[in-house]
Amino acid sequence: MHGQHGEIVIDPVTRIEGHSRITISLDEAGAVAGARFHVTQFRGFERICVGRPMHEMPAIMARICGICPVSHIVASSKACDEIMAVSPPPVAVSLRRVINLAQIVQSHALSFFHLSSPDLLFGFDAEPAGRHLFGVAARAPELARDGIALRRFGQTVIEILGGKRIHPGWVVPGGVSHPLQPDQRDGILDTVPEALAAVRRGLAWYRSRLAGFADEAGAFGTAPMLSMGLVHENGNAAYSDGDLRVVDPDGALLADRIDPKPYWDYLGEVAQPDSYLKSTYWKALGHPGGTYRVGPLARLNVVDRLGSAEADDRLGEFRDRVGRTPQSSFHYHEARLIEILHAITVIGRLLAAPEILDRRVQSMAEVNRSEGVGVSEAPRGTLMHHYRVDDQGLVTWVNLVIATGHNNEAMNLAVAEAAARYVDAGHLTEGMLNRVEAAIRCFDPCLSCSTHAIGQMPLEVELRGADGGLLDMVARP
């Protein structure tokens, strides 16, 4: 596959969640002219839900994504709360927080340990055949086992609360379907110390590796841009509730504690001719000036503090080292680990409160409004579900703004920057291309979520000049 001036195609991008390819375009001199990230799956949830009963929406929305179904169930149920014009009972709000934080733990563990740690352990130029979780398990068994244990912790919390690990029920319009039982609470609390120990080891290991990746940290998506995320009234990080805050690259507030529900006032969506993933932009600054990041790094940039002592200590050290609002996307990795630490701590805190066992967990109502928006923080960033229904509660219109879509422009800038920095068209190596993919891995994109189809079978990467002639070729095993 080659275009006007020759292209290098990486297809499929591996060790990410979903289907995509990267095209690196070359100018007539054979130098890197740019790079694009293409998402190749399309699912059309905004249309296929039309006509479904509102109460089915959380269960259908969960099937958008098997990695973060809980995020979709939470945002979907919140949109339905709005349509029913009810507030869930306070304990249901807390229980939704617990399951949403468990989702963040397991998803972040997957991203860091299962998908990205091979690059950080073996280096970006390592032999690809052994550059995976099983290779990590052979070389550094404790690291692999800590990753598996952290993901298991999050998944087990979800299973205990929601009945199953993937596509659970339980979070429903109006609250949650069942109160928490004392033995369930105790079962989770017993495992908190072990999970905290695992993430502490992971964070220490990451920091011990960091010095070796100074160059990549300076080239994996460093373009200055806005950061967006939810915060509580006191400026602490919010995941299931809260209001929007947007800061510029220097940390100056562009918007603070604004209601996220009328998102269309602030955010615009742009279709791309070469990807099934749409992009978004902050309307006040237009496109592309209003490009922003969401997700772990953006959340750390917008919050005053996370809101748990140990994680805030780690956040303080992070800020001392990389600045108050770091712009290198490489730092998503460390942000993810700090968020895991925070999330496990808060799960422990919420479950230790006696009122978590309250029996009144669901507010009952039918349709009282024709429209509702639910907003929460998914592992990868701010998630918005927006539904309209008729008088019978049948869905008439759906719009979804997905975390990975917010990051689409930032990911495209990151692959272009990494390609320009590392790809030498004259002497193509596999490690160069792995770095371009790794720039994408920093964002932990979830492409099932963001829409999609499937990449072609790539047999090798060919480097072609402007005349279409073969300059170099790397066969990937």
Binding site: T40, F42, I48, A144, V270, S275, N399, I454
Partner: protein, 179 residues
């Protein structure tokens, strides 16, 4: 069924699904490492092998067949795999992806990329595959050897199925449950 005289080789692939079956595969937790002691994962979104290799003993195929690329890919997999497992409800029945079948691809694309954007409306056509008129189960595209239903199949079911198909362990005494 595996080749004698070498370690068993298995693969996992996602077509049009939500990745949930792959997440259930990861939910084998520490059993993943046990599996890796006995067999090699030779192609998967989890590893960096970009071309589907020859001589694969078992492949778990998640997701429905929804695009021209899915068809091409699953044909290559079929040709190079001894035992092809239709992995999860989307592969077995087309499940959630098939919700679009009564509507057809055009109205879906129109809704997502024309009606629902503020800037540059237009259906993507460059570097993306074409949607098939209908999303179908894997067995509609190629012959399937084993069907593993569930949304997703549980980690226990996946583990026991792989042990059996890869010849690592005898079939379990208790029957597999799919509920």
């Amino acid at each position: 069924m595996t080749q004698r005289g070498r370690r068993p080789r298995f693969a996992t692939v996602w077509l049009d699904g939500c990745s949930g079956c792959h997440m259930s595969f990861l939910d084998m937790d520490e059993r993943l490492l046990e599996l890796a002691e006995h067999a090699d994962l030779v192609y998967s979104p989890l590893v960096d092998i970009k071309e589907y290799p020859d001589d694969v003993d078992v492949c778990l195929v998640e997701g429905a067949v929804s695009t021209t690329d899915d068809v091409e890919k699953v044909r290559v997999i079929r040709a190079r795999t001894r035992t092809l497992v239709s992995f999860g409800d989307c592969a077995v029945t087309a499940n959630v992806p098939s919700l679009r079948n009564p509507i057809g691809p055009e109205p879906l694309l129109q809704r997502a990329y024309v009606d629902n954007v503020d800037l540059h409306p237009g259906v993507p056509t460059e570097a993306v595959p074409t949607l098939l008129p209908r999303s179908v189960g894997v067995h509609k595209a190629v012959p399937v050897d084993v069907f593993l239903p569930g949304c997703p199949p549980s980690a226990d079911v996946i583990y026991e199925t792989l042990l059996r198909l890869l010849g690592i362990a005898a079939p379990p005494e208790r029957p597999l449950r799919f509920g």
